[in-house]
């Protein structure tokens, strides 16, 4: 199936509507994931940035550990840890400006926390307290999204709306390797490219969708190779190299901000913990595989770079670890306080105003609560 270019005497005119719409070459990713740490290029990196990334990684790791521990204590309904993937979480949050928007998936509480969200509020959903514990507009973080890939078109719509209004806003949306298989992934990328919306799609490829390994998820050379099919650049990066992820994402964000349109970044990483605390990862992968990835740990990689370049010493490392412990202690303590929930609130946000039916139902619940002497009943009169 090669194109034979041998013009004959009456060679037909080419189909007039046909013109290669974009040059595909620059849209294709390189064959190997981009890396910075340990390469000479790393020498040019801002030491301050590296220290910031490092601090977040160390605290992020501790945060993942503490949240997982809280599930064992019944303080969280469930926790999908990003242990091992912290470089992606941290870099995604730091690549954005204040006015930009982050669209996290359910695994990306850490990115939200790094962006400034109170860690306890970030866990509201997973704690089972309310569906989302924060006002998305406050830090410009969309609610942690559970139905896979459905947050991607939201990011496109928001970025498009901002662009139409002339606002300087980029949206960064995170999705897993499994999530790329959903139709919404495809539709979102296509809308973004057609509208040239300022969106950066970050595929956090951690090798598994629960138990399903990459080979059962895609046959593509990489997820980054999908980009050319939408007419946007695709980039492949070592997801455990915080500096590389940060650089690639920052460039993509800058490109989008400058009107260059969307980009797709695939970060190759690994989920060190099970899918969630409820999952048993030994059913579908070997400890040996986990170990090979532990040898490529994002914290070690960055710590190595910092140490080698004399940007951190043992005291510095200890200080970061202590900060992480303080964060964990604070989280532990605050999560041990029972949240105060008002059951009557169940009827408050279904619509801007309760319907007649909801008023009846609220009345019924109020009466039940009153009969049982439970809280919630008394406030209701005031509504």
């Amino acid at each position: 199936m090669t194109v034979l270019e041998q013009p004959g005497s009456y060679r037909p005119t080419p189909p007039p509507a046909w013109r290669p719409r974009t040059d595909p070459a620059p849209l294709l990713p390189d064959a190997e994931p981009y890396r910075l740490l340990g390469t000479e290029a790393a020498a040019g990196l801002d030491p301050g940035l590296l220290r910031r990334l490092y601090g977040h990684l160390v605290r992020g790791r501790r945060y993942n550990g503490q949240a997982t521990a809280l599930t064992r204590q019944g303080r969280l309904a469930v926790y999908p840890a990003s242990t091992g993937q912290e470089a992606c979480e941290v870099a995604a949050a730091l690549a954005l400006e204040e006015q930009d928007w982050l669209f996290p998936s359910y695994r990306d509480t850490l990115a939200a926390v790094v962006r400034g969200l109170d860690p306890v509020r970030a866990l509201t959903l997973l704690r089972g307290d309310w569906h989302s514990g924060y006002d998305p507009h406050e830090h410009r973080i969309a609610p942690l999204c559970t139905p896979l890939a459905t947050q991607l078109p939201h990011a496109v719509g928001l970025a498009h709306a901002a662009r139409l209004k002339g606002d300087d806003v980029v949206a960064l949306a995170m999705v897993g390797d499994g999530g790329t298989s959903e139709g919404d992934f495809h539709e979102a990328l296509n809308f973004a490219a057609v509208w040239q919306a300022p969106v950066v799609f970050l595929v956090v490829n951690n090798g598994f969708a629960i138990s399903v390994p990459l080979a059962k998820q895609t046959a593509a050379p990489s997820f980054a190779h999908k980009a050319v099919g939408y007419g946007m650049p695709g980039r492949l990066v070592d997801g455990n190299d915080a500096a590389a992820v940060h650089q690639v994402l920052s460039e993509a964000v800058r490109h989008a901000r400058a009107g260059g349109g969307p980009a797709l970044v695939e970060a190759v990483t690994y989920r060190i913990d099970a899918h969630t605390n409820a999952d048993d990862a030994t059913r579908y992968r070997t400890d040996a595989e986990v170990e090979t990835w532990r040898a490529h740990d994002p914290i070690d990689l960055l710590e190595g770079e910092l140490t080698r370049r004399g940007l951190i010493d043992d005291d510095g490392i200890r200080a970061e670890r202590e900060a992480a412990e303080r964060l964990a202690a604070d989280l532990r303590e605050r999560m041990h306080q029972d949240p105060v929930l008002d059951p009557m609130e169940l009827f408050d946000h279904v619509y801007a105003e309760r319907t007649a039916q909801l008023r009846d139902q609220a009345e019924m619940l109020r009466a039940e609560l009153a009969a049982a002497g439970e809280p919630g009943a008394e406030q209701e009169g005031a509504r």
Binding site: W130, H131, S132, D135, P136, H137, A142, P143, P147, T150, L152, P153, H154, A155, V156, G157, L158, A159, H160, A161, A162, L164, K165, A171, G183, D184, H186, E187, A188, N190, F191, V194, E345, D348, H349, V350, Y351, A352, T355, A356, Q357
Partner: protein, 346 residues
Amino acid sequence: MMTTAVRAGRQPATMAQALRRALRDAMADDPSVHVLGEDVGTLGGVFRITDGLAKEFGDDRCTDTPLAEAGILGTAVGMAMYGLRPVVEMQFDAFAYPAFEQLISHVSRMRNRTRGAVPMPVTVRVPYGGGIGGVEHHSDSSEAYYMATPGLHVVAPATVADAYGLLRAAIASDDPVVFLEPKRLYWSKDQWDADRPEQVPGIGRAVVRRPGSSATLVTYGPSLPVCMEAAEAAVAEGWDLEVVDLRSLVPFDEETVCASVRRTGRAVVVHESTGFGGPGGEIAARITERCFHYLEAPVLRVAGFDIPYPPPMLERHHLPGVDRVLDAVARLQWESEWTETNPGGR
């Protein structure tokens, strides 16, 4: 441009014209109103409801999207998060199905999820119902799906004035509204003054279209004209039927419906959607719960059959028509039969 075809003063106007005018006026009044969908721009929509909008307001306000319904509704969610009021057109009822996940999991729940911080002022316009000779997938009635989804308003106009007023109200609403446009009424006409549209009292208010005393026909959308015709025909049989047009299925105006049924003591719910699991079940059950001791007979339902929408050549057999409505009314246990069919009494 057909928009301008509606001249000043009360004139015959079609529902399509009123809908177009509502979109135009909403866009003119509020720059945050954006229309998006398949073929809504240059073409003006396959039913021409958005005709002229792209020309008047530009492609950015009235946008031809790629062909992907989940993508359309999903991007609308993002636009709404940023403060816009997207009005989405689904080309036909059945082509809204790919967008169900976005509709159910996000459009209907975002406000609740965020404790009110992120409302979803999204209007989803759905040309719906049959009777237009459309081939498969072009005549579905899917209101039951929407009704079963808390967080959505579900509206279906049946008159030219309501089409305008309710669409304006839908777009102005801070809640998501599924706006069902009865395809076969698009070209139905009424006297209507485009420059002084009648006030429609917001979403959630039913209206008595014809007062009567013998029984109540409860209906909405494309079945309203059928019920009105049936009510006229019923006069000859000695029945004076009241016709209630629900206008919105959610919120459901229990008050108006129940007041009518309490007065007449008998009711028939009429709609085109399939009967089993359709909207009529909720309506009949609700009326019965609220009005049981006023009822002389069970609330009956006249609906489409429990089958996939039939091919055009057979659709007349499926659609509830005047005769079926009258048959149902006849089965409402009028005096003479009452004692027969229920010999033991109660």
